[in-house]
Amino acid sequence: MTTVATRSRLPFAHLNLRRNPFGAFSIEDWTRLADVEVAEFDAMLVEPGTAVQFIGEKGYGKTTHLLAIRARFPESGYEHIDEGERGEVPVGDPVMIDEAQRLTWWQRHRLFRSRVPLVLGTHKDFTRELVKAGRQVRTVAVAERMNPERLTRILNARIEWVRRDDGGVPAVSFDIAAGLFERFGPDIRTIQYELYKTFQKMTARTSDVEV
C-alpha cells in the first residue's frame, strides 16, 4: 500500500494506525461509521405529516441517528442549530433539525404545521405539539438503542477506520466494552474520551485494549 519506511515520525504508526481513533471525526467519517438501525423509519418518512424525534442526553447518539437517516434520503435538508444561534429551517424532504429545542416558537409553529416529513434530534419531547399539529409521531429514546454488542462494534469500527496497513491493530474486546457501558451508560462521547486517553498512552501494539 505504501512505501516501507522508517515510520517513527508518522502518528500512531506504532499501533499501525493513522491517528487516535477516538478523537473528533469529520461529519463525513462520522456518517460513514454510524452503526444505528434506521431502515425502520424509511417507510414512515416518505409519508407527509409524519415526524420522528430522537430524544436523549448529549453524547448519546442523536446526531448519529440523524446523519444516518440523512444518508438514506438524498433529498433531505439537515440543519444543526448551534447554541445561541437562530437556525434556518432547511428545504428538503424530510426536513431534519438537530438540537430542535433551539427552534423559535414561530419556527416550530410553522414547521410542525407543514406537511413535510420531519426528523428531530432534541433534548425536549415535542410529542404534544406535533400531535396537536396533526402529525403522526414516533419518539425514539436513543439511550435504549445502545447495548454492549453495538458498543463493541462501534468502537472497533473506529479503530479499523484509521488502520494504517495490513496487519494487526488494537481491538476493544466485548468485556472491555461491557465494562465501559456499565460505567458510563450509553454516553458514547465520554466512553470515546476514556479510550482517547488510553490510546494516547499506548506504546506498543497489543491485541486487546486495556482501560
Binding site: 505504501t2 512505501t3 519506511a5 478523537g23 473528533a24 447554541e83 444561534e85 438540537e99 482517547y196
Partner: protein, 499 residues
C-alpha cells in the same frame, strides 16, 4: 473487492520533507473491474487531528488523469510532485496533532469514489514569507483555511459585534453598580500593589522566539516600602487546547506541554528606594510544539512574571509569546555567498533579503554544509577575526546566564583592543544614553561576529564611515568591549578604528 486499489509511494524513503522542498512520488491505480472514470485527482493539504474538531488548510488539487476508461487488470502509474508548505509543521501532541496529507480520489460516476490518503512528515525548511526577522509582534500566518474571513467580512462582523455590544451595554445599565464595584476592587488592588512596588516595568522586546533560543526579559522597579517577598518567578508554559463539538455540546480540553519556573529573586526582603533591576535571558526549550492558532486547535506559549508578596495581592503580568522553529529566525541561509566576499572591496553584494525572494520559484535544496558560507568562511575572513575575541565569546557562552558572571567577564576585557569582523545586520543612529559620551549621536552597527552566532553592537563615533554598510556586508574594525547586554545576549563594543 473494490473497483480499484490505490497506493501512494513517496520518493523520500522516510516520507519526510522540509518546507519548500519538492514532495514527489507515484500514485498506482490497480483496476479490479472495468470502469469509467471522470478523472483522477490528487489533493494535498494539512489537517489537525486529535481531540478537537478538525482544522485544515487549503486543499490544493491537481488532476492526474482526465475522463478515461479503466480496464480490469491494468495498473496505471501517475507520477506527482508539488512544493511542500512551509508551515505549519508536523506535530504530534496530546490533544493536538498536525499532519500533512496526499489524497487521491478516482471519480466514478454514480458510485462511491475509491480514495486513499497518506500522511507525510513536514520539518522546518524554507522560512515562510511572513517571517521577516521582526520579533516585536506576533506573526499572523496567511493561512488559507476555509473558515478564514476576508477583510471586508471581518469589518462587517466587527461592526455588527460592536453594535450588539452597545445594545447589550444599554440594556444592562442596571448592572452598572456591580460593574463599578468589581472595577473598584480591581483599582484598589492595583493601588495597593503600586503602593509597595512603585511603577513596575517589564520589558519583553521579543514576542517571537525560536525553539532553543534565549528570550530577553527585563524587570525593574523601585519599592516604596521595605517588605518581604516569597520570591519573584517567571513561569514559562506551553498549552495545547482543543475544542470538540459545537455550542452547548462543545468541550474544550487543555494539556500542559511544558511548564518551567525560573526564580528571578528568591524569598527575602526588598528595601525601600533600592532599585530592583534584573535582565535575564530565558532559555526556551528545543521542542516541536511551535505556536499554532486555529479555530478549534491551539498551541499557546505564555510567560508569566509574578512578584509574590505574602498576605498581599501579588503583582503579575502574562505575555503570550510566539514560538517558531529556530531555523525560521536564523540569519540568511548558509549558502549565502555574501559571507565569503572579502570585506571592504567596495563591491556591494547582491541583495537577497528573504522578503524579496520569489516564493514562486523552484524549491531550494536544503543548505549544503560544504558550500561556501558560515560553515566554511574564506581564509581571508577567518584570518581577519581576532582569536582573542573568540576566546571571550567562548568564555561568555560558558558562563552562567543568570548571574552577573557575563557582565563581570566582559568588564574584565574592557581594556583590550580587539580585531573583529562583523556580519552587518543593520546600521542605525545612536540615541539615548551610551556607555561613552564620545559616541553620543554617532551610529550603531548591529550584527554577528563572523564565524559565530554571537550578536554584537558596535558604537561608532559621529562622522565614522559606516554609512555605506548594508545588511550582509562584512565589516572589519577594531573595538574595545564595553559591556554585556544580557537583555539581548549581546556584546556592546566601542569602535576604536575611527578614533
Amino acid at each position: 473487492m473494490s473497483k480499484c486499489d490505490i497506493s501512494i509511494e513517496f520518493d523520500a524513503e522516510n516520507r519526510t520533507y522540509r518546507g519548500g522542498e519538492t514532495v514527489s512520488g507515484r500514485v498506482l491505480v490497480e483496476v479490479n473491474k472495468d470502469l469509467t472514470s471522470n478523472g483522477i485527482k490528487l489533493i494535498h493539504f494539512w489537517q489537525t487531528h486529535g481531540y478537537g474538531n478538525t482544522d485544515s488548510g487549503e486543499r490544493i488539487e491537481e488532476m492526474l488523469d482526465t475522463d478515461s476508461q479503466l480496464f480490469a487488470g491494468e495498473v496505471r502509474t501517475y507520477p506527482f510532485s508539488f512544493v511542500a508548505d512551509r508551515q505549519p509543521l508536523t506535530y504530534h501532541g496530546h490533544y493536538v496533532n498536525i499532519d500533512h496529507y496526499v489524497r487521491v480520489e478516482v471519480d466514478v460516476p454514480w458510485a462511491i469514489d475509491p480514495k486513499l490518503e497518506e500522511d507525510y512528515v513536514l520539518l522546518a525548511g524554507e522560512t515562510p514569507e511572513e517571517v521577516t526577522g521582526k520579533r516585536d509582534e506576533i506573526i499572523e500566518f496567511e493561512d488559507e483555511t476555509a473558515t478564514q474571513m476576508g477583510p471586508v467580512v471581518k469589518a462587517i462582523v466587527f461592526t455588527l459585534l460592536g453594535a450588539v455590544l452597545l445594545v447589550v451595554a444599554f440594556v444592562a445599565l442596571w448592572l452598572l453598580p456591580i460593574i463599578l464595584l468589581v472595577a473598584g476592587i480591581f483599582w484598589i488592588r492595583k493601588k495597593m500593589v503600586s503602593g509597595r512596588l512603585g511603577d513596575v516595568q517589564l520589558k519583553t522586546p521579543h514576542l517571537v522566539v525560536g525553539a532553543g533560543e534565549d528570550w530577553p526579559l527585563e524587570l525593574t522597579f523601585t519599592p516604596k516600602k521595605n517588605f518581604l517577598i516569597n520570591g519573584i518567578e517567571v513561569k514559562m508554559s506551553c498549552c495545547e487546547s482543543a475544542t470538540s463539538g459545537h455550542g452547548t455540546n462543545s468541550t474544550t480540553r487543555t494539556h500542559t506541554v511544558v511548564e518551567e519556573v525560573h526564580v528571578l529573586e528568591p524569598a527575602g526582603q526588598l528595601a525601600a528606594n533600592e532599585r530592583f533591576e534584573r535582565q535575564v535571558a530565558l532559555p526556551f526549550p528545543e521542542t516541536g510544539a511551535y505556536s499554532f492558532d486555529d479555530s478549534d486547535n491551539n498551541i499557546t506559549w505564555t510567560v508569566e512574571v509574578r512578584i509574590d508578596i505574602p498576605r498581599f495581592p501579588d503583582w503579575k503580568s502574562k505575555q503570550t509569546v510566539q514560538l517558531l522553529p529556530a531555523e525560521f529566525l536564523e540569519e540568511p541561509a548558509s549558502g549565502d555567498h555574501r559571507l565569503a566576499m572579502p570585506a571592504g572591496d567596495g563591491v556591494k553584494p547582491e541583495s537577497v533579503d528573504r522578503e524579496q525572494s520569489d516564493p514562486g520559484t523552484e524549491p531550494q535544496q536544503p543548505a549544503d554544509d560544504t558550500a561556501v558560507g558560515i560553515g566554511a568562511p574564506s581564509a581571508e575572513v577567518a584570518a581577519a577575526g581576532s582569536s582573542e575575541l573568540y576566546d571571550l565569546i567562548e568564555q561568555v557562552n560558558a558562563a552562567d546566564r543568570f548571574g552577573n558572571r557575563r557582565e563581570d567577564l566582559v568588564e574584565s576585557w574592557s581594556t583590550r583592543e580587539l580585531d573583529v569582523v562583523v556580519t552587518v545586520d543593520r546600521v542605525s543612529s545612536t540615541f539615548g544614553s551610551v556607555v561613552d559620551s564620545a559616541y553620543q549621536n554617532g551610529q550603531t552597527v548591529q550584527g554577528t561576529v563572523v564565524e559565530t552566532d554571537q550578536s554584537i553592537e558596535v558604537l561608532v563615533r559621529p562622522g565614522g564611515s559606516v554609512d555605506d554598510l548594508s545588511r550582509g556586508d562584512q565589516w572589519r574594525t577594531r573595538v574595545v568591549v564595553a559591556q554585556w547586554d544580557s537583555l539581548y545576549n549581546r556584546l556592546v563594543a566601542l569602535d576604536v578604528a575611527s578614533r
